[in-house]
Subunit: 425 residues, 2 copies
């Protein structure tokens, strides 16, 4: 039996979940791993605050050095969230040679180069399964089980808040603003929902995940990002009629040395495995050159599922004699020899409003044809107030070509009212 | 850089897939792991046989000792399949202190106790990700990522052949015998399909997987097993009407110290994530006390996907300084203190044929009620030749109670024509 002395940075929802799992499951963990975790200090903002778990007051401190600098503490668990001061505290712990386990996707995505460099320099472990998709072992699968693969594509539903909102908009035909308000009331969306609904959270995660999958750093700022706040119910309904479901996807693809990484609302065909991922569940769909298609599905957030991933990382760290680091360079630039394209290829959904008169459809199809874009599905509805509603889905096309076509189509007689990318066809 | 000398036992479909992956992906593997695998000897039955990959003739041998006894060979990969002589060769390699990587679920499930004991005794690694669900990292997830969980339930679609047959029967309304013949013609079912269609293959896999998940040996012979050869299209169609899909599931559940492990045709509600797993795909759905629900989905067979898992195990073994063994006793008995029940609880689908006259329904419902079984759905169809078709789905009930009720129901006026278990309600 080995005892590992542990310190917490933060003790909110996730910290309390880890506290609970470590205590309630202590015997089993010891039996399975031969390791006992002993919690020595917990950094909190407010010692008097009421917590879900009864954490003894003498463990609490407001001085970060009590955790990061205590030579007895071997492993530091970070649950503060946010970029600052979590990054600084983690850097300090790594510099002191301690293993760091974190659930903080923001600090990790933005300061990956600093954290990984510090970990390597000081031969300290840095683990973050809980930072991407909660309980789902997507990091471990990528860096361990799929080492034997060239991963060519990742598509993930990695944000529970937006998935909940889109699921309800689709099932009930409700408006975005109404469902968001409801989600906020239920505690499923933050009072300031920007990070979730504008896709920042998903972009942090795909930056981390695609870096590991492609064995090449994909910095956060090269990830294209579009959120769900402009989504209209009418497009979800038209998509449904055509056999498509709308999801906020985090996507990363690699073809040779060209990468694209992006977060945007995406239609996927109803037959695609990601379609059935509803509510607060997360899922990662990926394609490797040997393993072919694969999907991992589960709880992407919540106190217990996140604790499951944190404690799994603790056991993993404890079982290794030397820490594990990525094999690619950890600076904040895109890896040498790689390029990021914003001219990715997929299908596109377009909704147009047009004057109800001859020649309009010819104009639309000519503009598309001029850019080499062909049509897969087309639907025209009866005109309302003299304006016809036209919905179409293209075959595979380039983003730039579609943007050019949209510009050429738009005029006094016809307007492209929405453009949504389609994947998985 | 480290070179690991490797020997193959067998070089059929999977062996050739591994050969190809190790050769084509050599540079990447070396870059990622610092390890180079060098293949020294390959045991085959027939040296002259034509293979998918061009394997140099001087590597081939018909003498197993050239692989198992060569002191230079550090890692032995077993792709022979079948219990004998694969088990003996693997035992020999383990006794010689070599790491063994195998894709052989049969040898492993039937001789787990011998193989694991030999591995422990001789401090040799024994890895078998490829033995359960091909490329899907279900072994690694169970023993690594979910160590922090008490896994309470596993339900898997673990056999591609039966899933292909049931998918086509459901989509086309075809008969079992016709689809089986087609599957055999396409190479998706063996000339003797018994191992797949009677559920042996699935039972091997759930024995292995549940042992690891429950941290307690669940021997193959305690797994209840029923295949798909008696399935009638009419039941698939009635199930569909009621919102259920038929799958051959491998199931293992644990409540306290009571375990059940079983393979049988199972209806699952259309909203369940396993429903969308069609054709030759595999999936494992599981529930842990911390991680909650999780599903892993992917290719369960095939040359490249299986090779993906084998090479992943090779890298895993190469990265460990000491081999990893289960923490529970490896004899061939059910773990002490555990009991296996054959009185599991789930819902049940019953199809009855009854004389079309008063009192029949009262008789049926009384027999069910006497056993404490209540009805969830009921459907009666117009009588044909004076026999009414009645289909019902019960609420949660015990297997023994349902068997008793069926016995009480059966008589000259009414016959239970099929009974199919329902999970995931």
């Amino acid at each position: 039996m080995r005892t590992i002395i542990v310190g917490f940075l933060g003790c909110g929802n996730i910290g309390c979940g880890v506290w609970k799992l470590l205590n309630e499951f202590k015997e089993d963990l010891l039996h399975r791993s031969g390791v006992e975790f002993s919690i020595k200090k917990i950094l909190v903002r407010d010692i008097a605050k009421k917590r879900d778990e009864v954490v003894p007051r003498h463990l609490l401190t407001t001085n970060p050095a009590d955790v990061t600098d205590d030579p007895e503490i071997e492993m530091v668990l970070e649950f503060m969230g946010g970029e600052t001061p979590a990054t600084q505290y983690m850097l300090r712990a790594l510099q002191m040679g301690k293993t760091v386990v974190t659930a903080n996707k923001m600090a990790l995505a933005l300061n990956w180069h600093l954290l990984q460099s510090a970990a390597e320099k000081h031969n300290a472990g840095l683990y973050y399964e809980a930072a991407v998709c909660g309980a789902i072992p997507v990091i471990r699968t990528t860096i361990d089980s799929l080492q034997s693969n060239r991963i060519e594509e990742i598509m993930g539903i990695v944000n529970g808040t937006t998935n909940y909102i889109l699921t309800r908009m689709s099932q009930e035909g409700s408006d975005y603003a109404d469902v968001l308000r409801d989600a906020q009331r239920l505690g499923l969306a933050e009072p300031d929902p920007t990070s979730d609904v504008e896709g920042y959270d998903a972009a942090y995660k795909i930056s981390i995940l695609s870096s590991l999958a492609f064995h090449a750093r994909v910095p956060f700022d090269v990830v294209y990002r579009q959120g769900i706040s402009q989504i209209e119910t009418v497009d979800i309904a038209y998509g449904k009629e055509l056999g498509y479901t709308l999801k906020l996807l985090a996507i990363a693809k690699r073809q040779g040395n060209v990468i694209d990484a992006r977060v945007h609302p995406t239609f996927i065909p109803d037959s695609h495995p990601l379609t059935s991922v509803n509510g607060s569940f997360n899922a990662i769909f990926l394609h490797g050159h040997a393993c072919d298609d694969m999907m991992l599905f589960g709880r992407g957030a919540g106190s217990a599922p996140t604790a499951s991933a944190v404690v799994s990382d603790m056991l993993y760290a404890a079982s290794r004699e030397t820490p594990r680091h990525p094999t690619f360079r950890n600076n904040n630039e895109l890896a040498e020899g790689l390029t990021v394209t914003d001219d990715w290829h997929c299908s596109f959904y377009l909704r147009l409003s047009a004057s109800d008169r001859p020649g309009i459809m010819a104009h639309i199809t000519t503009c598309l044809g001029n850019e080499g874009i062909s049509i897969r599905n087309l639907m025209q509805r009866d005109a309302v107030d003299g304006r016809a509603q036209i919905v179409l889905i293209t075959h595979d096309a380039g983003e730039c070509a579609v943007r050019n076509a949209v510009e050429a189509i738009n005029g006094p007689d016809v307007q492209v009212e929405s453009m949504i990318r389609v994947e998985g066809n």
